[in-house]
């Protein structure tokens, strides 16, 4: 209870200062509307059903794009982590592609996929791909050799070694990669929506700017923030559940 109050303190102070600034400093509401006005707008946005529709299309894009990106990165990362030769083959290519920000792929993705959902899926998948891949590779490669020795000593086949030793040993880092991947996917979806489609939260805040509806811009931004928070909390829960055995800083 006290913890909950404590974590609410900072947002409340920010809101109060914001409201006070707008009221007493006569800031134009077109530049910075007070939080009370944003809240009213947010409720209006919600009541009309537009908010739910936007949020759902954004979430749908994140889900598809993330599933594609992580779905490719996970098996490839496991394979590369477990087999040195595979690592040597793919690593140079990955090292060249990885530093290119997903945003830089926008022109090509529109040339290739046109407008609409496909280029968004592509960008989101790309954004999620690399963090998941890099963390999975590192996770597998960092599994302490002593565990492999124990398993070999007990006569484990390479399938058992993979399933019972490499995979669980790499799991903390794989989950960390997935969590980062979701975050990047979320950034990418907003960017993609500003460019390639005409619905979703990213599109909506850009559209609101055309009409100088700064209250709606902020309402959209706050929605993005809240959805991000919910997703990340969900990932953290999953983490805790799968890693009950793990002695990390977080669980200590």
């Amino acid at each position: 209870m006290i913890r909950a109050l404590r974590s609410l303190a900072a947002p409340l102070v920010v809101l109060l200062c914001w409201e006070a600034t707008c009221r007493f400093a006569h800031v134009s509401p077109a530049i910075l509307p007070p939080p009370s006005q944003v809240a009213r707008k947010w409720i209006e946005y919600l009541r009309g059903g537009e908010l739910a529709a936007d949020a759902l299309s954004t979430l749908f894009r994140v889900a598809v794009g993330f599933a594609l990106g992580a779905g490719l990165a996970l098996p490839l990362g496991l394979w590369m982590g477990a087999r040195d030769r595979v690592y040597t083959v793919f690593n140079p290519l990955i090292q060249v592609l990885r530093p290119i920000p997903p945003i830089a792929w926008i022109p090509l993705s529109i040339l290739w996929f046109g407008l609409g959902n496909p280029p968004s899926f592509f960008l989101i998948a790309l954004g999620a791909f690399f963090p998941v891949l890099m963390n999975t590779i590192a996770g597998v490669r960092n599994v302490d050799a002593i565990y492999l020795r124990v398993a070999q000593n007990l006569g484990a086949s390479s399938a058992t070694l993979f399933r019972r030793v490499l995979l669980p040993g790499a799991m903390p880092q794989i989950l960390a990669g997935l969590r980062i991947g979701v975050g990047v996917a979320f950034i990418c979806v907003i960017v993609a929506e500003m460019i390639a489609v005409n619905n979703g939260l990213g599109y909506r805040i850009l559209e609101a700017r055309e009409y100088f509806w700064s209250d709606k811009i902020i309402a959209g931004m706050i929605t993005i923030g809240l959805i991000g928070l919910v997703i990340d909390t969900g990932m953290a829960r999953l983490n805790d559940r799968l890693l009950r055995w793990h002695r990390g800083i977080e669980s200590a």
Binding site: I146, R149, N153, L154, G155
Partner: protein, 274 residues
């Protein structure tokens, strides 16, 4: 106990040499002669201790027998066949325990049987028996992170015992235990050994521990790691520090180890002086 010498040894090492490095990070850049010219026979049912100062190559020698380290020269045979890879007939208890942190205590102990695809009922029975035998009852569902160092070590021993292999390779398995627990674990090991007639190679740097346990003590030299002397203990069991003859063997071994320690320190000092 005296072994019939006509029986073939279960472990047979001849001229085993192992060198690490040269270590490019060390100032000297010299290779480390971890093992040199090791000849050793271990007979069926024997309990042999490897004794020597830290860094003399005890773990390396055990790893050679286990099949984890390939010697640069010499031959290694176990059960009459050359050692080419690790295998469950030479179950190892690692110096670092190496419990799988993602498995519960029971799952850790059962892992070797899981690999063998033993029937579930048998696995459960074996695990229960080992939990009881090693005073781990009630801890089966805990994860290793929740255990004390001594308990982890006992789980590691249970995991090696679960596969019921004819040979146990144990690398300072009681090193992290307090004196009392160590005493009872030594008794427990001797009981298991007497009951199951396993061949045990046991690494220790505890001189008294080697006298309590061993049929024969292999005293090693430091860099290169060679066999300095093999001492037959030959005292009746159970052995206690107060038993007749114990002190004499202890003194003999202590003298050998100290001699080696001093030679090593002198070498260090003269190396440092350069």
């Amino acid at each position: 106990m005296p072994e019939p010498k006509d029986q073939a040894p279960v472990v047979r090492l001849r001229g085993v040499r192992k060198q690490f490095g040269p270590d490019t990070t060390a100032a000297s850049g010299q290779p480390i002669h971890a093992l040199d010219g090791i000849d050793l026979d271990v007979h069926q049912g024997e309990l042999v201790c490897l004794l020597g100062p830290s860094g003399c190559g005890k773990s390396t020698l055990l790893n050679v027998i286990a099949g984890f380290v390939k010697p640069d020269a010499g031959t290694v045979e176990a059960f009459g066949r050359p050692v080419v890879a690790p295998g469950p007939e030479r179950a190892m208890v690692f110096q670092e325990y190496a419990l799988f942190p993602w498995m519960t205590v029971s799952e850790n102990i059962a892992f070797g049987l899981e690999i063998k695809k033993a029937p579930a009922a048998q696995v459960r029975e074996t695990v229960e028996a080992l939990l009881a035998k090693l005073s781990l009852r009630g801890f089966g569902d805990r994860f290793p992170k929740d255990l004390s160092g001594g308990m982890r070590q006992r789980v590691a021993i249970a995991r090696a015992l679960a596969v019921d292999s004819p040979m146990l390779l144990m690398d300072e398995p009681f090193g992290a235990l307090d004196a009392l627990t160590r005493r009872s674990m030594q008794e427990e090991l001797l009981r298991i050994w007497g009951e199951l007639r396993k061949t045990i190679v046991f690494v220790t740097h505890g001189i008294d521990e080697s006298v309590v346990l061993a049929d024969r003590v292999v005293v090693m030299t430091y860099r290169p790691g060679t066999v300095k002397r093999i001492v037959e203990v030959g005292l009746p069991r159970p052995r206690q520090p107060a038993s007749p003859g114990f002190a004499a063997v202890l003194a003999e071994l202590t003298a050998l180890v100290q001699e080696e320690q001093m030679r090593h320190e002198r070498d260090e000092a003269s190396a440092g002086a350069i």
